[in-house]
Amino acid sequence: MSEGKCFLSDCEPCDSSSQSSMISVRLRDMEDSTEHSVEYEKCSVFHCAHSKCNLVLGDSLGACGEVKSLKSIICLKISKDVRVRGKLEMNKEGPLKFCTYNVLECSGCRRFVGFVLHSTPHHLSSLRGLYLLLKEAVNCYMLKSCIIVNASKLRFEHRPLGRSISEMKEDLEAQLKQVNLLKDMLDSRLGHCHLPLSSTVSD
């Protein structure tokens, strides 16, 4: 019994117990933060850019990115003050060539502020059904700094996460391998230890 105890304490290098406890604290922290906190300082509110209208069209919490070719912001959610016009429009040229779409208008000034794509060629198909707000028609009020700028001066690019997720997966799998290796080492050492225990004690 006393030998076993001695072995365990041997295994723990004296300076790293703090590191181990730090790891466990940070692990617990990761588990606790399941409900995410929003960085509201970085958020903005979208307003109709038509002078003297300023109606709220939506906010950055509902934005999913931008389409550079259409100069518009992709939104999942927009305010109720944006009206979807029932009539289906179509284009024979320009960036919306061969598309059919519903126009979005500001209910305050009835100006064209964006569109919802209904039918599209292949390259735009993932945008069907989403709200596309024209950057030029949108002014952004930036929280915290209180500055108002036209959305065409801002970027709403999304960063593809797939690659970094798979990179991280590789890293973690390598680590798992290392843990298994250590476990094997420890197992063999324990097995090793059991036999000559008496000899170490006698030493």
């Binding site: 041997d10 305010s79 109720k80 996460l161």
Partner: protein, 196 residues
């Protein structure tokens, strides 16, 4: 021949029925994710021309009796008046203030105390805005319309992506620390097995 036509017709029918079913199915799937964050900030707009001038991130308190909100800073859509006037009904609270008006429509939005007696010190040199003359909009307000896209096809929002990225950097740094610790243990084990 006649049989074949009949068959085709039948096939068409079943197709239509199944399509009808799938439509009904997708419409029943419409659900809203009542997210309405109660701690989400609000932005404040002129009650008349809706020009935004500030937000609750610079909140400095409120005066419920006078129906005012207090903000530490606003943008230049609020014009600070030059002519001070005497404010306060009672002798005790009398002090000097200037009007705050909207740059867009000159609507009176509130005032700023330039000097205060002791009891009003918490309001000095900050923006006092009259609730009845302003409007507000809460971020991510639940009465927004959501794009009619199937849940599986819905893109994630930029905010969600930011959050995932943050979590990932946390995991990465944690993995580095764990890696260091593992390395230490490995070295330690090797030393030990070397001595035995």
């Amino acid at each position: 021949m006649a049989q074949q036509i009949d068959y085709v017709g039948h096939k068409d029918d079943t197709y239509v029925i199944s399509e009808g079913l799938s439509v009904a199915d997708s419409s029943s799937k419409v659900e809203d994710d009542g997210e309405g964050d109660s701690d989400a900030p609000a932005i404040f707009l002129c009650g008349k021309c809706r020009l935004p001038f500030g937000d609750s991130l610079s909140w400095a308190g409120s005066d419920d009796q006078q129906n005012q909100i207090l903000l530490k800073c606003v943008n230049d859509n609020i014009v600070i008046g030059k002519e001070p006037f005497v404010s306060g009904t009672s002798e005790e609270q009398r002090c000097l203030a200037v009007h705050l008006t909207c740059r867009g429509c000159s609507f009176k939005l509130g005032h700023m105390y330039m000097s205060t007696p002791k009891s009003l010190d918490y309001k000095r040199s900050i923006f006092c805005l009259m609730v009845e003359n302003i409007e507000s909009y809460v971020l991510g307000s639940p009465d927004q319309q959501v794009a009619a896209v199937d849940r599986e096809e819905r893109p994630v929002t930029l905010e969600y992506m930011d959050n995932v990225e943050q979590q990932m950097t946390k995991i990465k740094s944690l993995a580095v620390t764990i890696g260091q610790r593992l390395l230490e243990i490995e070295v330690d084990l090797q030393c030990k097995s070397g001595t035995t």
